[in-house]
C-alpha cells in the first residue's frame, strides 16, 4: 500500500515507515518529559471547567503536542528496491485412493483439479513472491511436476508423514505456507488422534518445525458413500499351535439400514467361523471376535470377509487377507513308562532339562502283581488318566514316547486307534524297547503295529536278545539327521564306533516297507537283514521312531567312565525329537518369501535353501519354484492358478534367490521343488499381495482432521468453495537492497499548517472562555 502511494515510477518493490531524525537518546527522553509535562499541565488547569470544554481543550492540546512530536521525530517512508530469495508455498494434494471416491462434482480429486484451474490467478499471484511447489501426499510426500496429472492411487493417507517429508526437505525460513488439499480421510496418526484431541501433539510438532502457517482445504461429499467396510482387523503375526487365537474385527456400515450380512473367517479354504452383522439404528461400527485353535504349525493365509450390500459403491474393502505364522510355544511331550529303570531316569532327565520341552510323564510305579501292604493314603500314587491323555488331550501333544510300556491292564485298547490317527495326522511317536515293548508289550496286531516301522512277531517264542552289542550305522544312518552326531559322515561313523556298548534288543521280524534303518545290530538278524536298533518311518503326516533297546542310557552314563560325557546321548535324542516333531530346520529344502504381505506392485524375493543327503549345503542343484495364486472371483468363489515357474541352481551356499513381481492381488503359495535323484523334496511358503486395505477402511471424508491440522499449524481451514485467495503467507526474507529513497512525511505543508492550527485553536478558545 505504502509503495503504491509513494512509488510513482514503480522503481521500488518495498516500502516501510521510518524516522528520519537523528536525535540521541537523551534528546528523546527530554522531549518525552516535555510532552508529559505539557499534557499534565493542561490536565491540571482544565479540571475546573465543565465536561465539554475540559475535553475539547485537552484534546486540542494532545493533538498539538502529537504533531510537534511528529515534527521533532521527522517520520518518512523508505522506498527500497530489494532482492529476495523467494520462499516456498507448498501445496500438498492428497493422492490416496479415497480421493477417487465421489465428491461433490466428480470424484474428490476431480473437484480439487477444478479448484486449481479456477484459482490459477491466485496461484500465479503467489509466484511473484514465492515459489509454488506441488506435492502428492499418500503415506509420504513426493514432488508433483504437473498437478493436473495427479491420480488417486495411493494406498494410505498419512498427512503428518507428508508434512514431515516437507519439513525435512525445506529449512524453516524457506517455507511461506503449506496448503493441504485433502478429503481428510487420514489413516495415520492424525486420523487416529483427532477424535480425542483437537490439536494433536504430532501435528503441533510438525507445524513448529515448518514455522509457517498450515492451511487446509477440504474436499468431499456432504453425504458419505454407501459402504460396508472392514475398518480394522487385530491379530498377532504369530500364534501358538493348540492355543486359542483370537482375531478381532471392526466393520463400518455407512448409508444402510436393515442390513444383515455374513462375516466369515477362513484359513485357506476352511471356514473357521461365521457371524451375522445386523445393522442397528444410530450405530455404524460393529465389533466381532473370532476364536479358533490352530492344530498344526506353519504359515497360512487367513481371509476375513463381509458380504456385499446391495448397490455398494466400494467393494474392495469387504475382504481382508493376512498371514499368521503358527508356531510351537513348547514341544509337548507325553512320556509313558511301564516301569522305572535307568533308561527311564536318563531320558526323563534329558527331557526335563530341555527348556523347549513341556514334559508330561506318567510312570507305572506298581503293577497288579505288587504286594499292597500300605494304605492308599500312605502312597503317593495317582490314577493313570488314560481317557484324558489318549482321548481328550491326545491332540495337544507333539510327541508321544512309549518307553517300555504296555497298554495291557489299563483298559486302553479303545485308545490305540486314536493314537494311530494322531500319528497319521502329524503327531510324533517313539517306542523304546524293553520287556514291555513291541511284541512283549502285546502290540502285535494292534493299531499301534500299523504304524510302527518294524514287523512284530507274534507272541510266544524268544522275543528278547539279552546280549551286549555295539550298534553300527547303516548308510542312511551315516547321514540321517537323527543319527548325525557329527555333520561329517566319516566322523559320525567314527563317533558311533566309540560309543559304549548297549545290551538287549527286542526281536522283530524285519522292517516295514518305507522304513529307514539307521542303526542295526552287528550280529543278530531279522528278516534276513541285520536286526534293526533304530528305525524311522513316516506314517501319514506323522513320524515314528522305533528304538528296540532300553539301554541307550549307557551313552549318557557309561560314556563318562572313561572321561567322556553325555553329549552324544543328548545329541542323538535331541535330533530324534526334532525329527519326530518335524522341526522345519531339519527340512532338506526350505523356501521363504522375504515378507508376509506385499503391496501390489512390490517385488517378492524368494530364498530357497537346499541341503544334500549329508546335510551340507547342496551346491549347483536345480530348483524349481512354482508360484500359485488364489483369489476370489466376482461370485466370491475361490479360484487358483499357477502364475509362474521359476528355475535356477543353488549357489555355493546351497541357496537360490529368485525374484517375482506379482501382477494381481491375492494369496500366493510358493512351492520349491528339488529332485535329489532318489526322491523329490519340497517346501512351501505363503504370502499375500493386496492393495493396502488401510486406505479404504474408512471411506467417509473427514473435515475434522483438516480443522485440527489447520489449528495446530496456525492456518485457516477452508472448503474448496472458499478458494485460495487471502491465505496468510510468510514474506520471503530480503538478502540485498539495491536502491533506497526516503520520502519525508514531516516536511509536508499540511502537517505544518495543522501544527500551527491546533495550538491557535486552543489559544482562541481559552481566550473566549476567559481562561487567558
Amino acid at each position: 500500500m505504502l509503495r503504491t502511494w509513494f512509488d510513482h515510477g514503480d522503481d521500488f518493490n518495498a516500502a516501510h515507515l521510518v524516522l528520519l531524525s537523528d536525535w540521541g537518546l537523551l534528546a528523546l527522553i527530554a522531549v518525552a518529559l516535555l510532552v508529559l509535562g505539557g499534557l499534565a499541565l493542561t490536565w491540571h488547569n482544565t479540571r475546573e471547567l465543565t465536561g465539554r470544554r475540559r475535553w475539547i481543550l485537552r484534546g486540542l492540546r494532545a493533538v498539538a503536542v502529537g504533531l510537534l512530536v511528529l515534527l521533532f521525530l521527522q517520520p518518512g517512508v523508505r522506498l527500497e528496491n530489494v532482492t529476495r530469495v523467494r520462499n516456498h508455498v507448498v501445496v500438498l494434494l492428497d493422492a490416496s485412493r479415497s480421493m477417487g471416491l465421489p465428491g461433490e462434482g466428480g470424484t474428490r480429486l476431480d473437484d480439487v483439479k477444478a479448484l486449481l484451474a479456477r484459482e490459477a490467478a491466485v496461484i500465479n499471484g503467489w509466484k511473484q513472491d514465492h515459489q509454488v511447489d506441488f506435492f502428492a501426499v499418500t503415506d509420504q510426500a513426493r514432488p508433483l511436476a504437473d498437478p493436473a496429472g495427479i491420480t488417486a492411487e495411493g494406498d494410505a493417507t498419512r498427512l503428518l508423514s507428508g508434512l514431515e517429508d516437507v519439513a525435512a526437505r525445506f529449512r524453516p525460513e524457506e517455507v511461506a505456507a503449506v496448503v493441504v488439499i485433502s478429503d481428510g480421510a487420514d489413516n495415520g496418526a492424525l486420523g487416529e488422534a483427532v477424535p480425542v484431541e483437537e490439536a494433536p501433539p504430532a501435528a503441533v510438532a510438525v507445524a513448529r518445525r515448518l514455522q509457517a502457517p498450515i492451511h487446509t482445504l477440504f474436499t468431499g461429499p456432504r453425504e458419505p458413500p454407501r459402504d460396508v467396510a472392514i475398518s480394522r482387523v487385530a491379530y498377532d503375526d504369530f500364534a501358538f499351535v493348540r492355543n486359542a487365537v483370537t482375531i478381532e474385527a471392526e466393520i463400518t456400515v455407512q448409508g444402510y439400514s436393515d442390513l444383515v450380512l455374513p462375516v466369515t473367517l477362513r484359513r485357506g479354504d476352511t471356514i473357521l467361523g461365521q457371524r451375522l452383522l445386523a445393522t442397528e439404528p444410530g450405530k455404524d461400527r460393529y465389533a466381532f471376535d473370532f476364536e479358533f485353535v490352530p492344530d498344526k504349525t506353519g504359515k497360512d493365509v487367513f481371509t476375513l470377509e463381509v458380504g456385499q450390500a446391495p448397490n455398494e459403491e466400494i467393494r474392495d474393502n469387504n475382504r481382508r487377507q493376512f498371514v499368521i505364522r503358527i508356531i510351537r510355544d513348547k514341544i509337548r511331550v507325553l512320556q509313558v513308562v511301564g516301569r522305572p529303570s535307568w533308561d527311564v531316569r536318563f531320558l526323563r532327565k534329558l527331557l526335563k532339562k530341555n527348556p523347549n520341552v513341556d514334559l508330561i510323564s506318567f510312570f507305572i510305579l506298581r503293577t497288579g502283581a505288587s504286594i499292597d501292604v500300605a494304605r492308599r493314603d500312605e502312597l503317593s500314587l495317582i490314577p493313570f488318566p488314560t481317557q484324558e491323555l489318549f482321548e481328550e488331550q491326545l491332540g495337544s501333544f507333539d510327541l508321544i514316547v512309549f518307553q517300555n510300556f504296555t497298554y495291557r491292564g489299563y483298559q486302553m485298547i479303545q485308545y490305540l486307534p486314536l493314537i494311530r490317527e494322531y500319528v497319521r495326522n502329524g503327531g510324533g511317536f517313539v517306542m523304546i524297547g524293553g520287556d514291555l515293548s513291541f511284541t512283549s508289550g502285546g502290540y502285535a496286531g494292534t493299531p499301534i503295529a500299523d504304524f510302527l516301522p518294524v514287523d512284530l512277531p507274534p507272541e510266544g517264542g524268544d522275543l528278547i536278545d539279552e546280549g551286549r552289542f555295539r550298534p553300527t550305522l547303516t548308510e542312511a544312518g551315516r547321514r540321517h539327521p537323527i543319527t548325525s552326531l557329527s555333520l561329517v559322515p566319516e566322523e559320525n561313523a567314527q563317533l558311533w564306533a566309540t560309543l559304549p556298548e548297549l545290551s538287549g534288543i527286542n526281536r522283530v521280524l524285519g522292517v516295514r516297507e518305507g522304513a529307514v534303518v539307521l542303526a542295526q545290530h552287528p550280529g543278530r538278524e531279522a528278516g534276513g537283514a541285520p536286526a534293526p536298533v533304530i528305525v524311522a518311518q513316516e506314517f501319514g503326516q506323522g513320524r515314528v521312531l522305533a528304538v528296540t533297546t532300553d539301554s541307550t542310557w549307557s551313552w549318557a552314563f557309561q560314556a563318562a567312565a572313561d572321561g567322556g560325557d553325555n553329549r552324544h546321548y543328548y545329541k542323538l535324542w535331541g535330533n530324534a525329537i526334532r525329527w519326530l516333531i518335524q522341526d522345519p530346520a531339519l527340512k532338506p529344502v526350505r523356501v521363504e518369501a522375504d515378507r508376509d504381505r506385499y503391496p501390489l506392485g512390490t517385488e517378492v524375493t524368494l530364498l530357497t535353501r537346499v541341503v544334500g543327503a549329508d546335510w551340507a549345503p547342496a551346491v549347483d542343484t536345480p530348483v524349481t519354484i512354482e508360484v500359485r495364486r488364489a483369489w476370489f472371483d466376482a461370485g466370491g468363489l475361490r479360484q487358483t492358478e499357477v502364475v509362474t515357474l521359476l528355475e535356477g541352481r543353488t549357489s555355493e551356499n546351497g541357496e537360490y534367490l529368485a525374484r517375482y513381481l506379482p501382477a494381481q492381488p491375492g494369496a500366493y503359495t510358493v512351492t520349491a521343488r528339488v529332485d535329489r535323484g532318489t526322491d523329490v523334496v519340497t517346501d512351501e511358503d505363503v504370502f499375500v499381495v493386496a492393495p493396502d486395505p488401510i486406505e479404504l477402511r474408512e471411506t467417509a471424508a473427514r473435515a475434522d482432521t483438516l480443522k485440527a491440522l489447520a489449528q495446530a499449524g496456525g492456518g485457516e481451514a477452508r472448503t474448496l468453495d472458499q478458494g485460495l485467495d487471502g491465505l496468510d503467507r510468510v514474506e520471503p526474507a530480503v538478502v540485498k537492497v539495491n536502491r533506497r529513497k526516503d520520502v519525508p512525511l514531516w516536511s509536508s505543508g499540511w502537517l505544518l499548517l495543522l501544527a500551527v492550527l491546533f495550538p491557535s485553536a486552543e489559544w482562541f478558545l481559552r481566550r473566549r472562555w476567559g481562561l487567558l
Partner: protein
Amino acid sequence: MRLHRRQFLATAALGALAAPRAFAMGADAEVGIGLLQHGVGFDARPGAVEQLMWEVSKRTSIDVRERPRLLTADDPDLFRFPLLVWIGTAEAPPLDAESIRRLRRYLRAGGMLYIDDASPGDAFDATIRTEIARLWPDQPLLPLDADHTLYRSFFLLDRPEGRVRRRLDLEGVTFDDRALIVYGRNDLFGAFGRDPLGGWVLPVVPDGNRQREMAFRLGINLVMYATCLNYKRDQVHTTAILRRRRWRVSQ
C-alpha cells in the same frame, strides 16, 4: 489334571490285573545297587540290599537285580550302577585323589551316592563330612526339606527311619535339581538283613516292626528316587499328594 471315575477304576484294577513280567532285557536293564567297597563296614549288613531289592520288586513295578555289586571307585563297572551305597561302621581312611576324581565324575554324570552311617559313634560321621566336602566342595551338605521328593517318591513319609532313630532327617548335597549325595545316620540298611532262617538279623529300636516297615519304605523311596528323580514333583502329582497329606490346596 482332572481325573475320571473310569480312569480311577482302571488304576484300581491294577491290583487285580498283573502286567506281564516278560523276559528281562538283560543285566543292564535291571535296577541294582552298587556297594562302595571302602573303609570299615561295607560288608557289615549282609543280605540287606538283597532284602530291600526283593521288597522293591514285590511292592513296585521296578525290575530289580537283588544282589548288590561290590565296587571300588576305580572299578570299570562303577558306571553300570547309577545308585551307589556306602555303608560304614567306623572311621574310614580318606579316599585317594583318583577315587575322588572318579566318584566326582560318577556323580556329575548322573550317579547317586547314599551314605549309611551304621556306626555306634561319631567316627564315621566325621569321616563322611570330610569326604563329602572333598567330593563336592561347591555345594554344602544340608538337611533335606520335609517335602523333598525322596519322602514321597512312592510312599508318603514324614521322616527317615532306620535300625536306630539317631536323627530325624536326611542330609544331602543337591546339584542340578537332584540330590546326588544323600546321607542318613539311622543305619537304614541295618533294618533290612535277615538270617538264613528268615529272622531279622538286627533288632530295630525303639519302635520295632513298625519302624522297620518305615525303614523299608524309605529304602524303596530311595530306589524309586534314583530311577525317577523328581517325577513326583510334577504338577500332576502335587495336588493329589497334598490332598492326601491334608495340606491346604489352593484351587
